[in-house]
Amino acid sequence: MKRTTAVLTLVMLLTGCATPYTLIEPGRTAVGDLYTVESQISWSSTRTGKIELWTVDGNGLQALRFVNGLADGETLFEGKRKDNKKMPTFRKNMTISEIMEFVVDSVALQGLERVESAGLRPYKFGNTQGFRFELSYVSSKGLEGQGAVVGAVVRERLYLIVYSGTRAYYYPKHRDHVERIIGSIRMQ
């Protein structure tokens, strides 16, 4: 058993995974405690704090992140401890335009370059009025990326679905699946 644990730990270290992945089967799945979605394909899923991440080909290539209920004063990503005070903070009274800025600035501080947003507009999040915008960025190694962000503030908490991937192949590869997932949101 000890040996198995050691091997698993080694595999996780080698693959850069801090937490293990679980399989999301096709069908309806609960995301956090607010809503469920329906997927037509399988995804590998992992969770860090309030962010649940799904991917097919690896999170460096494409990732579907569900941000589950950020409360007033919380940050999107955990910065290095020393830098926490510098991370953008969600405020419950933010306008949707400010929420977009909060997301974009948070993403930019994660080491991505030329992070830009476009097309902010109202968008249905399940039966709730939410918003949507598109993202573009370049990795520190120069790889172009693309993203779409759909979200809503429900009971003063911020819920986001962020789909991102390399512009050339991995973002478009599962974009249609992701659009169906977003369209399938059903509040619990």
């Binding site: 306008t95 400010e98 370059e113 520190s140 190694k141």
Partner: protein, 392 residues
Amino acid sequence: MSLARTGVLVALLLSTTACAAQRGSPGALPDIQPGRRPDLETEEAGLWMQTDRLEADLKTSGALVADSALNAYVRNIVCRLAEAYCADIRIYILRVPYFNASMMPNGVMQVWTGLILRVDNEAQLAYVLGHELGHYLRRHSIQRWRDVRAKSAFLEFSGLLTAPTGFGPLASLGAQLALVGSIFAFSRDNEREADELGFGLAVKAGYDPREASKVWEALVEERDATKDSAPFIFFATHPAPEERIENLKAFAKKSALDGGHAIIGREQFLAQTRPLRTMLLRDELRRREFTGSQVVLDRLFEAGTGLGELYFFQGELYRLRDNEGDREKTTAAYQKALEYGDAPVETHRALGLLFFKTGEKEKARLAFERYLQQRVNAEDREMIEAYLRQLE
């Protein structure tokens, strides 16, 4: 430093004589010669190889500023400072909102956009670049390499040097480059030498010697305001800025006695950098280092160019900082911005959002409508129209 003395220094610098080895700190090497690469079997060649790898990463970096006019401008300054080495130096301008410039031993010069935002004119930029050229010409990196190795810290040094290629996808380029900067933490003697040499190069190129110390004074002001030296990568590798200011002032005093061409180059500098300033200010505020950013903004206000844009970003700083009383200050700054012709159209949207939040419906409606009128193809038109519907 007098022009005559500078001339001698530069002549020495550019000469091929081996007597350069007798100058400077213990372990000083002959200056690098134009067009030269170290012999393959030397340790210096190993150091170059490592930095060649870093350069390969830089070439594809997402942080590279592609603006060809700005790149050509900085290159022209470098070539003016060290003409014989012009072909040996590759310049990479990186979109990193911190003050830094550095040179690798293989001729790679990095200039961060945070530096461009923090200098007032071409002369100040030239003095910083001249300082970095001083390190390069005097081969301080190889000296540092030897010193560290002699102190049995070779593995640490080597590990640092190779570390950037192994960074994870989320590590920022800024962090990587800061690490590289820390590798080349030169000795005080090296720093003094680079200051003196860089100063000489800039004076010989005709730049006003009084501008050299101003760069450091501004940085010290920012550092003291923030009470946090962490963002000042340049300080991390360049000790004792106060001493440096005094030295540079003393050099300038001597130079001034001999007169000079006194190029400040404010107009040229603005012509090349002003179009990028909106982006640089946006990046600056993303740092969420509001005290330091306020010092930067204050200096830009003092210089007095593009006040509409500056008041807009002043408002942005207050809004993002969100301290007690900042909401009123934000409104006042946006409104002040609109008194100037160069206020960004986004100022109307920003005011609209502010009034939207405070429930001042009529003011919000007017501001949003002005935004949509002036930005006919606004990419967020649907959202603004949705706000307007909510105001009805």
